[in-house]
Amino acid sequence: MTEQKTVASLSEAFPSTTWSEFRGDTRAVISRGDLFAALKHLRDACGFDLLVDVTCVDYLNYRDAEDRFGLVYLLANAETNERITVRTFVNEPNLTVASAVPLWAGADWLEREVFDMFGIVFEGHPDLRRILLPDEFTAHPLRKDYPLQGRGERHNFPVLYRAEG
């Protein structure tokens, strides 16, 4: 649950914020340019000191979707357990957003995973590399245009034999 105070505070600082509510989750949609400032505002002025998760949804072919990618930041207050979901939309060709690592050290691996799986580039991230997939991998497999069976990467990996190793 998010308190009215937080809603009012964020709306005042970023008037373009739109709000929605679903099953007790309060969700704010922030424009991409304001994302870092809004997260900083939430951390410093509203007490959301815990970054619970960073994830992304690919809205390709989703009903009524206007944007391609929706980034999701789940924040919580470690003292009161007040929660808020912050979303921002990103479209091709410019898949760049500001990194949250300067605010939360815990964002490091979470953002690397989003980069790995969706190809969203986090500007200002100290070490933006693939994390779960091998470095040679070229696709971003959690995008909706990537098939479940893959594109044959598995068969094209170089085979290492013991003698060469």
Binding site: R23, D25, L50, T55, L74, I131, L132, P141, L148
Partner: protein, 408 residues
């Protein structure tokens, strides 16, 4: 706070021109990593200068599979995430799905799930603490812990036929009800387990070797724990009094009397003690729940059109027959709203949540798992810097990294 870490071992070695440092490859196959994870260690003698985790060896695309299996089928995949406490994953997954669908469970189902979540917590903590004991030389302690895990596996087998990959929950209920035999076995466990816990306490809590190996090792301060998104016993051992069972009581937790176990110290020994204390609290919850287990159906009513009706309803009522038929037909099933929600539980390892996006069908559009192991393993290089090589097992063990959940 965030420090810029060297990207590769070569860069670090080159930049600093410290050619007396040597690198050691720890894992991916190593008895002390327990699962498949790899660390590249930069050592100055026996001291760890830096540790660079290299993960992804077990990556199997669970989140991609989640976009192709129905809400009920995907529960089998959640079993394979944190396979030390699969029931907690089942409950987390279906808890998140039921939140998306707006389903209210029956009182009996809430109690049954609460009991199973707590038994899963005990099972997880037994393994974690047992393995820390094993890695630091206390083999007997490990056997005490594992004997009780066998008892728990027997309970799970009686409950659902599977010892390891339970897949017990379903949307709106469970695969079937808890039988009186399971209740008896859980009662027997509640009676017998405290004796083992006392033995375990006596074996290790004042053991000189164990204390020397774990006390002051891998200290995580409260501010760091919050900044680095730590949750669960690891955050609580650093003084963060955050427990979703108290803070946002899901299932039936608000009915029970239990305490949140914390420690202000934040080292490996504190994490061990917090887990020991949590097992006693979990046992208290199980005892209260099993003695007050409500009667009534385990699944939501057939009007909700999500859980399968029972056989009596199928054979004797037209609504039951139709409902069963509809749910079983391919391309029928139930519908989810075009919405997204995040549902989390306090899993044994920390906050385990699923961010589920629905798209009208009974297959998730996006099934994001917030894996506590992944977030806790990111802490590891920070915790181990400056410690010795032998401290790695004490720190790694106390973080309880399960690679299947780490890589998904």
């Amino acid at each position: 706070m965030a420090t810029v870490e060297a990207k590769t071992v070569e860069q670090l070695a080159k930049a600093e021109a410290r050619d007396y440092l040597w690198t050691l490859n720890f894992g991916p196959q190593h008895p002390a990593t327990h699962t498949t994870l790899r660390l590249v260690l930069l050592l100055d003698g026996e001291r760890v200068v830096d540790a660079i985790p290299d993960i992804g060896y077990l990556h199997s695309g669970f989140e991609k599979i989640g976009e192709h299996l129905t809400y009920n089928q995907y529960v089998t995949v959640t079993d394979r995430m944190n396979y030390i406490s699969p029931l907690a994953n089942n409950i987390a997954w279906h808890g998140a799905v039921e939140k998306l669908l707006g389903l209210e469970l029956t009182p009996r189902c809430k109690y049954v799930r609460t009991i199973l979540a707590e038994l899963a917590r005990i099972s997880d903590h037994l393994l974690c603490n047992g393995a820390v004991g094993l890695d630091t030389g206390a083999f007997t302690y490990f056997l005490y812990a594992f004997y009780q895990r066998e008892v728990l596996y027997d309970i799970f087998e009686t409950l659902c036929g599977a010892r390891f990959t339970n897949s017990y929950t379903r949307v709106g209920g469970a695969m079937h009800d808890m039988t009186p035999l399971v209740v008896d076995k859980i009662r027997a466990f509640v009676r017998n387990f405290p004796k083992t816990l006392d033995d375990m306490d006596r074996l290790l809590n004042r053991n000189r070797i164990f204390i020397d190996r774990t006390k002051g090792v891998g200290v995580l301060t409260k501010a760091e724990a919050i900044a680095r998104s730590a949750t669960g016993p690891i955050a609580r051992a650093s003084g963060v009094a955050r427990d979703l069972r108290k803070d946002e009581p899901y299932l039936a937790y608000k009915d029970f009397d239990f305490q949140v176990c914390c420690s202000p110290v934040g080292d490996s020994f504190a994490r061990y003690l917090v887990r020991m204390a949590e097992m006693r609290e979990s046992l208290k919850i199980v005892e209260q729940a099993i003695e007050n287990l409500p009667t009534g159906p385990i699944n939501v009513s057939i009007d909700e059109r999500t859980a399968l009706p029972n056989k009596q309803q199928v054979y004797t009522t037209i609504e039951g027959t139709i409902s069963h038929f509809e749910l079983m037909m391919a391309n029928r099933g139930f519908t989810a709203p075009f919405e997204e929600s995040y549902g989390a539980i306090e899993s044994p390892n920390g906050e385990l949540g699923f961010y589920v996006a629905g798209d009208g069908t009974d297959v998730a559009y996006r099934a994001r798992c917030r894996p506590p192991s992944y977030i806790h393993f990111a802490l590891f290089p920070h915790l181990i810097r400056g410690h010795t090589l032998s401290d790695i097992v004490a720190v790694l063990g106390s973080l309880n990294i399960i690679a299947a959940e780490l890589d998904r």
